[in-house]
């Protein structure tokens, strides 16, 4: 069973057991515009919740991506290196950024549900 949570900085995390997949929302992708480059973290590195873990660059802005949950990175989306535009095309599925082993599932309580996130962006 996969649960999806959102942050106020427009990241999402899909949780399946101990694993989490992280990406940015359609709203964020639209705000950024055409994405030109993604700086992903190294595999094996751990980040705390809220720490800046990646950078997404578009023509007009460069956005920090903050970790929705603490954990260790075990996989990154290498196809974004050649085609960063995948994030614009499909931010919720093929445009995933990285996967982590979640350290503390309690932290997920700090995040928003889909309903709450939609309220935040006013839909």
């Amino acid at each position: 069973m996969t649960d999806i949570f959102y942050t106020k900085d427009h990241e999402w995390i899909k949780v399946n057991g101990e694993e989490g997949v992280v990406g940015i929302t359609s709203y964020a992708s639209e705000q950024l515009g055409d994405i030109v480059f993604v700086e992903l973290p190294e595999k094996g590195v751990s980040f705390d919740q809220g720490k800046d873990v990646a950078v997404i660059e578009s023509v007009k802005a460069a956005s920090e991506i903050y970790s929705p949950a603490s954990g260790e990175i075990f996989e990154t989306n290498s196809s974004l290196e050649e085609k960063p535009e995948i994030i614009n095309e499909d931010p919720l599925e093929r445009g995933w950024l990285y996967k982590i082993i979640i350290k503390d599932k309690d932290e997920l309580k700090n995040l928003m549900s889909e309903v709450e996130y939609k309220k935040l962006i006013g839909v």
């Binding site: 030109v36 700086e39 660059e57 578009s58 007009k60 802005a61 460069a62 920090e64």
Partner: protein, 449 residues
């Protein structure tokens, strides 16, 4: 006033259109006390003639490098600038245009910068270059900053023969912690000593080549060792003409190259404006600060140029910017690229050889001078001479006799050490045999009469 087009009638019409009768009505937000006719202790306006007279008088109080035999270097060099260069940079469309943020009406600037970037990449032996920075010293400091970001390490090792003012600039801009920058100015450049300082806390090693004292070095071994420890090698070039007959920094293993480009297209100008060059490998391009021009296509598929990779700059990333710099040297980079286009491959190499030969000829003559010792085993167009007397005194006395003989090393450093008799002497294609003979004759007079 000749630069102000509005007539008094214009001003009246405009005030009516705005709905005011007094200019100060537009300054209502300004505190009254501050606006109350502040007294400026300054003269009133002057005609072109008057201004010309005042400034010419001041200019004439300087001994300029065209008037006497000239042998100064130490980071700024005198070369002949072809008449074409100064003529083109004064064209309206180059002189009075703005930064190319609207690319459709700035293809002239963008294309020459693209050509400039190519030239800089080629002569430094690197993959990519930016569109220039303020000068060699800030380029070097930015290179250090870049290396720290890439390696995520803090320690910086500066070669002891790096230009002392460059080291000062790096220390000022880079670290709040003195220990992070390792620099002790010294005449001795020993690769082994430098290598012994490199460990895995080091982000970069900065080496000037030819160095401050004029000596030329092979850096392959240093590069290899630096890389083996996960650090980056930054090579600094102050006299860009040297790249005509030396192995390029890229060829020797540099990761980032920072240069002073003043020698091409730009006069001495008492120290500014100059032009900093910066080039690096493809893999580091997104960490390269400053403006960068890239090629692209327009809506019709036609080739064009734009400023690109701008998201690293402060006006977009604000707090997270990679650098504080948001300008390049504009017209100075145009002068550089025009001069290098005029020279071309053949001209650049020949000019380089001429400079080297000028130095060799002077070296051969100085060798015959009793009490004078050239300290270098190798040099391009600048070398260090140990004099029988204090170098600052020597230079003053030579100036009185009508020759600008060199730069005393002690002028640039207050570090302990026996530098007081050392003189940096630079040669270039502008020196004639007469100049060199003059140097020898007057040097003898100053020291021995």
């Amino acid at each position: 006033m000749r630069y102000l087009p509005l007539t008094n009638d214009d001003r009246e019409d405009m005030k009516k259109a705005i709905g005011i009768s007094d200019i100060n009505e537009m300054f209502t937000n300004v505190p009254k006390e501050v606006l109350l006719d502040p007294k400026f202790n300054l003269p009133s306006h002057k005609t072109e003639m008057e201004v010309g007279k005042i400034l010419s008088e001041i200019a004439n109080k300087n001994l300029n490098s065209n008037q006497v035999p000239f042998f100064l270097g130490a980071g700024a060099y005198k070369h002949h600038i072809p008449a074409t260069v100064d003529h083109i940079i004064q064209r309206s469309e180059f002189l009075t245009s703005y930064t190319p943020y609207q690319p459709e009406i700035s293809q002239g600037t963008l294309q020459y910068l693209f050509e400039f970037q190519t030239q800089v990449s080629l002569i430094t032996g690197m993959d990519v270059s930016n569109a220039s920075m303020y000068d060699g010293s800030t380029s070097t400091a930015e290179a250090v900053s870049m290396a720290k970001r890439i390696t995520k390490r803090n320690k910086v090792i500066l070669s002891p023969t790096l230009h002392p003012q460059y080291a000062e600039v790096i220390k000022t801009l880079i670290s709040s912690n003195e220990d992070e920058v390792d620099y002790k100015f010294s005449e001795e450049f020993e690769i082994d000593k430098l290598i012994s300082k490199i460990d895995d806390s080091v982000s970069c090693v900065v080496v000037q080549n030819p160095d401050f004292f004029g000596s030329c070095h092979s850096l392959e071994q240093l590069a290899e060792y630096t890389h083996s420890k996960g650090a980056l090698l930054i090579v600094v070039v102050n006299e860009i003409i040297s790249l005509g007959i030396m192995k390029s920094p890229g060829e020797m293993g540099a990761d980032i190259v920072a240069c002073e480009g003043q020698s091409l297209g730009n006069p001495l100008n008492f120290g500014g404006p100059y032009i900093g060059l910066m080039s690096t490998k493809d893999k580091y391009v997104r960490q390269l600060p400053g403006r960068i021009v890239g090629e692209t296509i327009d809506m019709n598929g036609e080739k064009g140029f734009v400023l690109t990779l701008a998201t690293r700059e402060q006006h977009i990333r604000r707090e997270k910017a990679t650098s504080n710099i948001c300008t390049n040297s504009g017209l100075c980079s145009l002068a550089f690229t025009i001069h290098l286009s005029l020279l071309g491959e053949m001209g650049f190499k020949k000019l380089s050889k001429l400079n080297h030969e000028a130095a060799i000829k002077l070296y051969n003559k100085i060798k015959t001078l009793e009490g004078f010792e050239v300290k270098n085993n190798s040099f391009f167009n600048e070398f260090t001479v140990k004099l029988p007397i204090n170098a600052s005194v020597f230079v003053e006395k030579m100036a009185e006799k009508g020759i600008l003989a060199g730069v005393p090393v002690s002028r640039l450093t207050n570090q302990d050490g026996d530098f007081s008799n050392l003189l940096l002497v630079a040669s270039s294609e502008i020196n004639s045999d007469f100049d060199r003979d003059d140097f020898i004759k007057l040097a003898k007079e100053v020291c021995y009469e």
